[in-house]
């Protein structure tokens, strides 16, 4: 195992907050070429220009730099220790100071944190990450996906039950309906729809997170293509100004399901910059 977890996580967080992955850049270029609405084309070009400036300067894509969400992948013979988790948290703190993250942590007791009367922590590193999600992987590595979640998609996202009536089309219809409402309200579009389908609210939300880590703009399933195409047909457009590019892609993950008439679906209308993601390898075991 390598011993520089803190620096890997720090640099990974800065990358997540400042960089579009190559498949996302290509998705934007494709959308600019195919969009016929002049206003929409202008918005798409401006967002891509912003991404180029952010990557060049390693500066935030958006002033809402987001809440760190972490997905840790652990190979068969690898071990995660409490010290390693603390190193990851320290890397997050250093990354937030370096990016810099927006200082937006609220201080105080439970009540003061709810009503925001406890005041703002002036330190960017005061923004604590969400609980770490851990999953297994086939390679003998420990790999960390760092995702930065902005506030707008959290306001417009939802986790709810759908009665499927033994027909996948019923679930897709409801997803499209809810997604159209969410995308129209979001403002900061074009979106990437992140969707998890699970057996509980927790499971659906964790699948939504994994969908963002695994999703690719250039590899889309039939269901993902259908959702994207139907939401785009609503003509909401970038920033809600009209046009055919409301959604760049859909990242959907369907987990195990139970014998029941209900499916729990989590939808996050990830904004024009999301998924803000970077992946870092924290250690690798030589199995030779």
């Amino acid at each position: 195992m390598t011993n520089d977890i803190v620096s890997h996580v720090r640099e990974g967080l800065v990358e997540a907050g400042s960089t579009f992955r190559p498949d996302k850049k290509s998705a934007y270029k494709k959308a600019i070429d195919s969009e016929t609405d002049e206003k929409a084309k202008w918005v798409l070009k401006t967002i891509l220009e912003n991404a180029e400036a952010a990557e060049k300067n390693r500066s935030p894509l958006c002033d809402d730099t987001g809440i760190p969400h972490l997905l840790l992948e652990v190979g068969p013979d690898c071990a995660v220790t409490g010290r390693m988790l603390e190193d990851i948290k320290e890397g997050v703190r250093q990354g937030l100071r370096k990016l810099p993250g927006r200082p937006m942590a609220i201080m105080g007791d439970d009540s003061s944190r709810i009503d925001q009367s406890g005041g703002l922590n002036p330190d960017s590193a005061g923004v604590e990450p969400a609980p770490v999600l851990i999953r297994q992987c086939g390679e003998n590595v420990i790999r960390l996906h760092i995702l930065m979640f902005g506030g707008g998609p959290a306001i417009r996202g939802s986790t709810y039950r759908i009665f499927h009536r033994h027909d996948t089309a019923v679930v897709l219809d409801e997803i499209v309906k809810r997604a159209c409402e969410a995308v129209a309200q979001l403002g900061c579009s074009p979106c990437t729809l992140a969707i998890g389908v699970g057996r509980s609210h927790f499971e659906a939300a964790s699948l939504m997170l994994q969908a963002q880590a695994d999703g690719r703009y250039d590899i889309q399933s039939d269901m993902e293509k259908e959702i994207t195409s139907r939401v785009n047909a609503a003509g909401i457009g970038p920033l809600g100004l009209g046009g055919s590019t409301s959604v760049l892609a859909t990242f959907m993950k369907v987990g195990p399901q139970r014998a029941s008439g209900v499916r729990i679906v989590c939808i996050r209308p990830a904004c024009c910059f999301e998924p803000r993601i970077a992946t870092v390898e924290l250690g690798r075991l030589d199995t030779e």
């Binding site: 401006t46 220009e49 912003n50 300067n57 958006c62 002033d63 927006r102 200082p103 920033l239 100004l241």
Partner: protein
């Protein structure tokens, strides 16, 4: 698309010529404020103490944003405290409100009544950072990043979202 250059302070004549869908680039000194500070500025206007701000509100632009080490970027202008500030600030001389999101019909009508416009700015923080050269707090420093700020900008890109009683979001 032709881009119209706007320099602050914005004249009455410039505003009259702007139409929904025009793309503009804004340069000069502009104010920044959002939910927390705008109601306080309104209070000062009502109390007749706005001159203590040290900035002439006539012809000004107000950008609905916080100013933090992470940069600037529009918050939703249809948040209660922000949208309700648009009419009285226009009456006080603000000529251009810069933010994002759809406004109510009555707000669009009020903008027209006071010869003011609303422009939508994409949330392009990195790009805006490269076009911002000065920033200072001019009132309510206790609000931190949500204090009233004055910043100097060069060619901020925006699109006119409401003007002359019309909205870009009208179906």
């Amino acid at each position: 698309m032709k881009t119209i250059q706007i320099t602050t302070p914005v004249s009455e004549e410039t505003v009259k010529k702007l139409n929904v869908g025009d793309t503009v680039e804004i340069s000069g000194y502009i104010l920044c404020g959002r939910d927390a500070v705008l109601p306080k500025v309104l209070e000062m206007i009502e109390n007749g103490t706005a001159d203590r701000l040290g900035v002439d509100l006539r012809g000004q632009v107000i950008f609905h944003t916080a100013v933090s080490p992470a940069g600037v970027g529009p918050t939703s202008s249809n948040k209660l405290e922000i949208e309700s500030s648009i009419a009285p600030l226009s009456r006080a001389g603000i000529r251009l409100h810069l933010g994002k999101g759809e406004l109510k019909k009555e707000t669009v009508a009020a903008l027209d009544r006071y010869n003011s416009v609303y422009a939508v700015i994409p949330p392009v923080t990195a790009l805006l950072g490269s076009r911002t050269s000065e920033e200072k707090v001019i009132a309510f420093p206790e609000l931190g990043m949500e204090a009233l700020h004055l910043i100097k900008v060069d060619k901020y890109p925006a699109i006119i979202g409401a003007a002359h009683g019309r909205s870009i979001y009208d179906k």
